[in-house]
Subunit: 69 residues, 12 copies
Amino acid sequence: MKDHIYKIVHLTGTSEKSTEEAVNNAIKRASRTLHHLRWFEVTEVRGDIENGGVKHWQVTLKVGFTLEE
Amino acid sequence: MKDHIYKIVHLTGTSEKSTEEAVNNAIKRASRTLHHLRWFEVTEVRGDIENGGVKHWQVTLKVGFTLEE
Amino acid sequence: MKDHIYKIVHLTGTSEKSTEEAVNNAIKRASRTLHHLRWFEVTEVRGDIENGGVKHWQVTLKVGFTLEE
Amino acid sequence: MKDHIYKIVHLTGTSEKSTEEAVNNAIKRASRTLHHLRWFEVTEVRGDIENGGVKHWQVTLKVGFTLEE
Amino acid sequence: MKDHIYKIVHLTGTSEKSTEEAVNNAIKRASRTLHHLRWFEVTEVRGDIENGGVKHWQVTLKVGFTLEE
Amino acid sequence: MKDHIYKIVHLTGTSEKSTEEAVNNAIKRASRTLHHLRWFEVTEVRGDIENGGVKHWQVTLKVGFTLEE
Amino acid sequence: MKDHIYKIVHLTGTSEKSTEEAVNNAIKRASRTLHHLRWFEVTEVRGDIENGGVKHWQVTLKVGFTLEE
Amino acid sequence: MKDHIYKIVHLTGTSEKSTEEAVNNAIKRASRTLHHLRWFEVTEVRGDIENGGVKHWQVTLKVGFTLEE
Amino acid sequence: MKDHIYKIVHLTGTSEKSTEEAVNNAIKRASRTLHHLRWFEVTEVRGDIENGGVKHWQVTLKVGFTLEE
Amino acid sequence: MKDHIYKIVHLTGTSEKSTEEAVNNAIKRASRTLHHLRWFEVTEVRGDIENGGVKHWQVTLKVGFTLEE
Amino acid sequence: MKDHIYKIVHLTGTSEKSTEEAVNNAIKRASRTLHHLRWFEVTEVRGDIENGGVKHWQVTLKVGFTLEE
Amino acid sequence: MKDHIYKIVHLTGTSEKSTEEAVNNAIKRASRTLHHLRWFEVTEVRGDIENGGVKHWQVTLKVGFTLEE
């Protein structure tokens, strides 16, 4: 059995609703061009403010995927 | 056009329901005395525990706002 | 009045739904063997990916509890 | 019962005697203008040197207090 | 002689020219309302991009000043 | 001669008097159930505030001890 | 209106003159292959030394850009 | 299918030969009392020195294991 | 002479034998599609566990390479 | 007037009594061979344990001094 | 060919004009007593304030040089 | 019995073979001019790349030694 190699990309997903949706939006977009996505790790949670509330959640994440042989 | 100056304050919002509500509670309270709130960044997520579950979510955030000329 | 001593354990809770549920799952499990749970702090939010979306949220937390005299 | 909001300010207290006194000096000064001080966290311990010994202890701390409704 | 107490505020200065000017802009603005400014420390250097170059330098700094007795 | 293995536990000691006493309180309590305590490292100094002064020093430490063969 | 997704790349720009020019060199080069560059953040400032002075400034930065739908 | 809960313990393994052996020594010892060990992460590599060379490698690691239902 | 620009990618190499082999595996794989690889920096050492020992070493690294003019 | 240059050395002072005395011991020893000591910053507080209490406080500090022209 | 060994010293350079000049001042001073200076890394940018502007830039850096065989 | 004082120096050892040899090379070189070396801590593992593999391992470490009375 082989020793796998993974690559990690850094993405920021956004959502008006929740941090979870922001993460899912980023992963869904990444999966259109990258295959074999395996794991993610949240590295930053930010957002912009409008009318005294959160307008967009901006969640930055590292996403790891297997490089094909 | 001018070079803006921003000030950053540190707040902890709390909520019995979710981290998102804790953030919104902090921003809503800040907007009563501070104008031109622009962005936030979450720096800590903590909470206290009661009866084997989270009682309050305590989310600390930096909030940036434009200083008036 | 006494000076309390606290011990801190490190747990990872998981959930298919949200980071909040992952935290609550970890605390509920810990409370079966540890008494006097007092506070927690989130130290890491990760997860695994399946079919272009989050499969499990994996939230690591420190949980503090009072040591009995 | 309400969800409290806290504000955090950053202070440096100094003392010729000890780090503990430096912290207490900062808190005592803060309590003259801020009410409902609740907790602190030490973030830096520095000092200046004179004649081969510590002249002033300079302890930087975050101080949290409840914002009034 | 007294043990001084310092307060630290967090500011972001901006400039189209350089990081040094961004810092000076923040300090000049702060000195209009705060007296006895003593030192600063740069904590973040960011910026926004337009037409393949830096449009604004955004330098975040901590600024310390002496609290009056 | 053997290669030793150590385990590290995380404790918070408290004291109304000093950070040193808070550390000693935590170590004294730990030594009632753990043997072969060897070293510690302070990771956090916090406290709560009452009447414009520190009420309890809360010092978090890692404590290492030798696991028996 | 849509929730944007951003990707972040890590670059090191160099310059014999200044940190600002090193950043601009990196951004100018990136803009030849990447569109919609939005922001950057400096993460490291290093350099090599020759004849008792800085020969090259080496500034590492994160650069964020909007992923097209 | 269930949401698993993991616990993380902190160990220091030692070896006169290599960092890899130090890690394996710690895991082998842990597996005598803990079941379902799943992953580890190295957090510190230290050692003591004798006669101008490394005497013991001391590798600190976090080890995660599944808590039984 | 020109001011070079470098790009940095993040990879995780794995090996059943050692951290050094895991790093070399990642670099060998990267060199199949990226030219002018110049340096690397290890940012994380993890692994999974089977039968009371390390099964795979997982070493995450940043790899820098020169961007062609 | 000149632009001063400072050098920073790293020391660990020890004391059986307190962290403050450990710092002063390190500075007193440094001042026997280094002149113009100006400031220090504490970077680590550790210690060894004997008979259920702290035996030695070990405080690591950076000490800055002016380099002579 | 030999495996080189490098030593790293920590310096703070100052300048009334810019961070770049502060770095160059530190390196120029170091090169009077240390040979084979190779690289530097900026670890801190601070300064003191006078009359609403920066008086001295204080840039702390690590400087690496080859130890002679 | 005396309270010892330790000094800490920062070195980078290199090796074409392994991280362990790079550490030993640095310590062996240091022991030619420094006595009473006591412990080390690895702070960085880097390297340069040639022909799709690691050419030199570059391991940076802190080395502590006892200052003579």
